[in-house]
Symmetry: D2
Subunit: 337 residues, 4 copies
């Protein structure tokens, strides 16, 4: 079993509710190739899943580098943000502090700071008594950096500023870690349960949540990295399903031709195929395999992240979508032209 | 008389003590073309100058784009920082928070954030119980951004973080405003009297000082801009002295030839020449001329800064000098190899 | 007379046609507070103005930090770009190379490189035989940097790439120098006469134009700086007109109250007032005053630029407008949603 | 077998000579934990290895985030650069063009552009006849960007500029792809055989080499990424050796305790253990396994890179080491103080 920096046992966990919750019995809306899933974790089901009580909205889409698709995602994000503002009882005049977590200098971790760059801030106008147009609330925006650069616990910085500035609610943007490479840059999760800074690419840090700060915290996250454990494990599964597919189609040359362009899934593993293919390893279940990978990779001292090559381009598009949607949902007078 | 945003009368003021204090009776050391001036403002002379009680060390130099010259300036800055740490009773193990004021996106205002990029931070290692090598103290570093980007009063952010993190002392780096174009990027001021964020390029904001934070605050500032009032007024003076020079040398062609390469000073104005040359304007004293310039430029709504063309290059060199000197003076184990 | 680096006599010149041409007899369209001026320099009038033969379209506007205003400016820029593409006989399938001149690290000089960041490039898809959607032409984009960083003459780099890549036409974006502070960040000039890199903030460099490259060159420029000569001279004029205004209204307290908020123009100087106010200096004409300012400021070795404080914010908006308009006017399939 | 974008068969290849060449019979010098290996590929051994004829110098080190270690690496790099300049017959006055390949916006691919930021350029002074101090040669520096941003083939841009500017030799800096995670950011390779831009993180592009440009090309590369195939395959091997180790020490609890801190190698695989552990997969050789991984991952359309989390910090240190060493080895008058 592997240990992280503070000596506690590392739980293999994901930042995305949708990856842990059985979504068969949740509401799902499909809109123009964009899928929205609402998951509610409450007293009844919280023990089933390793997730906090609250709402989790997941928007799944295909490709935000396409301009028209990006516009659609932005419009849906506006609608869902307005919905969660209502669910959390945010009023029109409530003062909002928007926080961009992450490291501007590390491309896959720069989503938060990049988003902050395009947030409309008005709080200083309210403070110094400048007449602000009707339809704008008080907003402030902030990027606390990461502990490796500041030497400070990010949650402490946020806690301090919340105490000083007394916003009515927070919106926090962060890069997340997915537990599957299929989701990278193709999912936005909105939740009112808060966030742990650095949980995506670092160790668990103190949580930014209503429990700790006494004001509503809406977290917007996008999985931009998987860790090396995930990609190894996913590959095991792809290999197994590839093998199962080949076995079934061994005499069917037409089907075999499909293989290059077909997206063989890594899910619904045939356990017997896995054992045949992978020997002793194939006898382990997913969690055992992951523990084993952690066990062997950890001593090398390398903490690797896996990210698509075109991440710089995609992250810019995603930050534009999120900043646009935040500006639009917070201020009545901003319209998504 | 001109008014700034909150209705109060704008005082024409400078961030540099050396520009306001009569330095004839202060200690001055000249070392390899680098001049160090120590000014002490105390109960006796504080009414003479518009400056707070405390120590002001000014290092004047010529050109930091020269590698060897930059090294000399860095070494002197290390010595002077160590001196002021001693004067302020900072102990070897005292925890330091280093703050980079200013706007990373605006070249002449980016000195603070650029310097922070190269500060050695160790505070998180102390906090999580990692064994830190002997010879390193606890340091943290932070760039609060500017109000136009965050909507938050910079001094409030700093106040909040100081309350939360309880450092023993602060070092604050900022771009300053000079009241003379000769000084731009050629002076470093160190003071234990604190700083007002944005005083260089913006309005007076709340002060970051021992008075407000109850811990020593060492401010390191470099004048990187002058305002438009300064350049106009300086030009008036240069023109006057040019005129005086020409008059005196009207029959001396040899002297006249010098003019192109000579650095005609803008100081020691001949008041009669000024009147002859500038008519009614020449009858005004310096403060009256500055007030007049503010009066006519202000309504245009433009708040202009004046900076040298090569500012991007110079600011990088200056930030390297300052971060190197801070690292070296704070940690015994860092040597300026 | 002052000399620049290569020994030639410096001509006081501006990059904006509209500042040198008597626009009384040119077509001017006023559209929702945005003014468009078409100036045509031809064989007949080229000697009147210090400008090359060709078309100069000038779009004047007020404030691009307002979202709705920015959208209007972008739409007009699209229309005018399409017009000049037609005038220059550019065909739908002609291959375009877009070049962003300037220094990304110096905020007022970063317009070109920032614009390039958001240009849609397709040339590599055409080259490697990927099927490009109907409605897209071949586009490439490039930022050559500045000579102080590269050691290379910018026009040489462009010349080399044009020879190698053989585009059918160029679009070049650059920061310009205005000769009046009123215009800063409030004017876009489009011309088919080309551009001299660095003419805005540096010395005259070799021209990027059809004459030199044998393909049409459309230049898009925005004045983002004035030099120190301009601000001093402008101030002289503002002071004079302020004085004229005060004299006329000396017994009219109501009118005097207006002064703080009124935009006293710096144009239409009363020459007698100027003489009364400025003595000998007031007897000089504008060019003589400018030469005098250059004469006295040059030997200090400072080459100063003057720019508004909020330049970082404005330049980002301007680059978005220009990149959006270029993408839209070059590709039929991009719409300004 | 997998296919890349232009239809050709993808060869699994590495950018590092040291990973392909049997280094038992090459000169190796160990200096203060830094290992230098000289590999010479000539007519006799070129068919043994998939490498071009020429010199390959490899510097292996541990950690450049340690200041003193970084200085040692820089000093060795200076020595080795001077050596290869001599080997390539570069004269003291030969004009050098330094090129930083890669994408400034993608952290692991930003080594080239970051290095360029700190290169001393002098070429423009020579060109305009400014007297350059003795001990400086003519240098120019350039970052051509990447094809995804420019739409232009990088090698074409370089070819064009070389034709125009006629430097006597090139130094090219790039991020490389390693075929083993142990090497990431811990190896610098210098070679006189040139480089293929984008070979590290992209497809094979046209080569930048003496063969194509007719001038010496010295390439400096650091492996900053591995691809997903590598990390999966490495993990297979780590698991196997972990298994072998456990089997041998099953009754030796003391040895078992070592496992967490011990760096179990991924090399010297026991083939029987591999078969027992991995079943059918264990019967494949390394190349077959890699082909299989490519086969199953490719159709997902994801082209993943694997990089250490702290890459932003390390890449900055590496770029400082390389720029410092280039400045020092090219100009006699720059000393590594």
């Amino acid at each position: 079993m592997s240990h992280n920096i503070d000596g506690s046992v590392l739980n293999i966990r994901t930042d995305l509710a949708i990856e842990e919750v059985n979504t068969e019995n949740v509401e799902t809306i499909s809109d123009e190739n964009i899928k929205i899933t609402n998951i509610v974790i409450d007293e009844n089901n919280k023990n089933l899943y390793n997730k906090k009580i609250g709402n989790y909205i997941t928007i799944e889409f295909d490709d935000v580098t396409d301009y028209n698709n990006a516009k659609k995602v932005e419009n849906i994000l506006i609608k869902e943000l307005k919905k969660i503002l209502k669910l959390t009882n945010i009023k029109d005049k409530d003062k909002c502090l928007i926080i961009g977590l992450g490291n501007q200098k590390s491309t896959p971790d720069s989503l938060g700071p990049l988003t902050i760059n395009n947030i409309i801030v008005t709080n200083h106008f309210f403070n110094i008594g400048i007449n602000v147009e009707e339809g704008f609330r008080s907003t402030a925006a902030f990027s606390p950096g990461v502990m490796a650069q500041t030497g400070l616990e990010t949650s402490n910085i946020i806690n301090a500023i919340v105490k000083e500035e007394k916003p009515d609610f927070l919106i926090v943007i962060d890069s997340l870690k997915a537990s599957s490479i299929d989701r990278l840059n193709k999912t936005i999760q909105i939740t009112d349960t808060g966030i742990s800074p650095g949980s995506g690419i670092g160790n668990n840090r103190k949580e930014i949540s209503k429990d700790n700060l006494n004001i509503p915290v809406i977290a917007i996250g996008v999985p931009t990295v998987v860790d090396s454990i995930t990609i190894v494990n996913d590959t095991f599964n792809y290999i197994t399903n590839h093998f199962s597919y080949m076995k079934k189609n061994i005499d069917n040359p037409k089907e075999k031709l499909k293989i290059i362009r077909t997206n063989i899934s890594k899910d619904n593993i045939d356990e017997n195929d896995k054992k045949e293919l992978f020997g002793l390893i194939g006898n382990l279940n997913e969690n055992e395999i992951k523990s084993l990978i952690i066990e062997v990779l950890n001593p090398i001292g390398y903490n690797m992240i896996v990210t698509p090559k075109e991440i710089d381009f995609v992250i810019e598009k995603l930050s534009n979508i999120i900043s646009g949607a935040i500006n639009n949902s917070l201020h009545k007078n901003v319209t998504n032209l």
